[in-house]
Amino acid sequence: MSAAAARPAWRALLRLRRGYSVLLVLAAWETASRAGAVNTFLLPPASEVLVNLWNLATEGRLLFHLAESLLRVAAGLGLAVAAGIPLGLWKARSRLADAVLDPVMAFWFPVPKVGLIPLALLFFGFAHGSKIALVFADALLPLVVATYHGALHTDRRLIWSARAMGDSERRILWRVVLPAALPQIFTGLRLAVTVSLLVVFLAEMVASSSGLGHVMIYALRTLETKDVFSALVTISLIAFLADWLVIQARRRVLVWHA
């Protein structure tokens, strides 16, 4: 009667259940390409791409570029978290901060950062700095907005209880408002992770000598379509893994949350 006995088998099936759509897409891709429905130059068969990916991966170069990209994402995202959460909290708790920051952000965030790449290159260097700066600039938005909304709707009874217990405003911010905002912050983090990946690959496509985006643009320039798709598949896998990690972290951190 209890599901406990059948759990391992069920677990395995559940895992599969969450991946079958990806397998379906791969199958459709393979069929379309093999059947000649699409130009294989534009869309080579999935199987060939996967074999190619395996070769690139075992060769080692791909892993190097992957590590470069991930380093940039980690640094940019880390900075965005470190800056975005305090900014969002501050904006939610101080009317003055809100009034000053709101228009500045509303003007800054729609700026297409790709146009700032030349400037970023000169200011932050051609290696990691420029990409980290761009990731930071774009990942900041979801974090600030999410933290702000989460903190704004904190139950005021919680804040008052803390105040009654003699907590300072700063302590309340970190001990009451931040935990209360965490569910929303995780939503923002999920977005920020995706945005970071997007930005780092884009920045690496425009100007970089390493990273997955660089691998992709090099393959595009030399018309090695299979390499392009190998990079694409890698990016997809990374994105999937990163998202899974955020969801796991969310589950761990938010055990108290419904």
Partner: protein, 330 residues
């Protein structure tokens, strides 16, 4: 009643969308262009009045792309019929049978008598020869681009392994000069108009050009799909006549001011910068007869095969089709 109306409407929309509503309309050539160095195209786009056949024997739908690869992708996905394309991606396209493209006219080449992409350093850098680059950082505008392939060959020829002996970082053309003056790189490649700009500001020394490995590099050509040429030979013929007209117009010294204005308008670059080199010996070389240089193309293909960029030996003659070219000797 309603159903008939609906069916008529749908049919009408389909016909309108297919663009073949009026049989009398001349065929539309969907053609890709990019910047820089496609002066013939810019003149055709901005001065259709000087063209004899435009609107009568053909119409053109000009679409801008960020470069040759994008144009080729658009051709392969059947969204374009023609375009101004660089020779290396074109060769790779034909090698992979991604699209059946034919070179129908010359657009511009890098050779003596015209501008060649130039690798430069600062006079103060202490770099005198290519060998001095050992252990230094240099700028590449685009890994895997034609000029990058040439630079690698030249470095290797001068005893420098491009992957080990120098650090090469990707720097967009417009930032190259600043990066060099700032000291982030000691050398870098400059195309026009960035070369002219840097030269005007002074302190720049030329290191090398592609001359050393390829005396004539037919960099950009006009290409059409074989399918379109077979379906609309008259339109292509008329287009090429107009293409030559535009070339002649651009090359005529008394039109120079106007052409500089056209290029400034298209590229959005300041007119005074363009005026320093455009249509002078400091501009890319445009062959007066607009004929593709089969011999130079073959040499380029051979060079690419040798360098491993091409896996197969391609035949330039089979890639070129000048049967509709007004200045072809018949």
């Amino acid at each position: 009643m309603k159903r008939i109306a609906a069916v008529t409407l749908v049919l009408g929309l389909v016909l309108a969308a297919s663009g073949r509503a009026g049989a009398a309309d001349p065929p539309v050539i969907r053609i890709g262009w990019s910047v820089p160095a496609q002066t013939q195209h810019y003149v055709m786009m901005k001065k259709p009045g000087i063209l004899k056949h435009y609107g009568k024997a053909y119409k053109a739908d000009w679409v801008n792309f960020p470069g040759s690869v994008a144009i080729i992708q658009a051709i392969a996905s059947k969204n374009l019929d023609a375009g101004g394309i660089s020779i290396v991606p074109l060769a790779r396209t034909i090698e992979q049978k991604a699209a059946n493209l034919k070179i129908v006219a010359d657009m511009m080449s890098e050779r003596k008598g015209g501008f060649q992409t130039t690798w430069v350093t600062l006079e103060s850098s202490g770099i005198k020869t290519i060998a001095d680059l050992k252990g230094k950082t240099m700028g590449v505008a685009g890994y895997g681009s034609t000029t990058d392939l040439l630079a690698r060959a030249i470095l290797r020829k001068n005893g420098i392994d491009p992957d080990r002996d120098v650090k090469r970082v990707e720097v967009p053309f417009p930032v190259m000069e600043s990066a060099m003056r700032k000291g982030d790189i000691v050398a870098g490649e400059l195309a026009q108009p960035f070369y002219a700009n840097a030269k005007a500001r002074g302190g720049i020394r030329e290191l090398f050009t592609a001359q050393e490995v390829l005396p004539v590099l037919p960099l950009l050509v006009e290409a059409f799909t074989a399918e379109f040429m077979a379906a609309h030979p008259q339109a292509v013929k008329a287009f090429l006549e107009d293409y030559v007209t535009a070339l002649d117009f651009a090359r005529d010294p008394k039109n120079r001011d106007e052409v500089v204005g056209i290029v400034a308008e298209v590229s959005k670059l300041p007119r005074d910068v363009l005026a320093t080199f455009l249509l002078t010996p400091q501009d890319y070389f445009m062959s007066p007869d607009a004929m593709p240089d089969v011999e130079a193309i073959q040499k380029t293909l051979d060079f690419l095969k040798e360098g491993g960029v091409l896996k197969t030996q391609l035949d330039a003659k089979s890639m070129v089709d000048v049967s509709l070219h007004p200045r072809a000797k018949r």
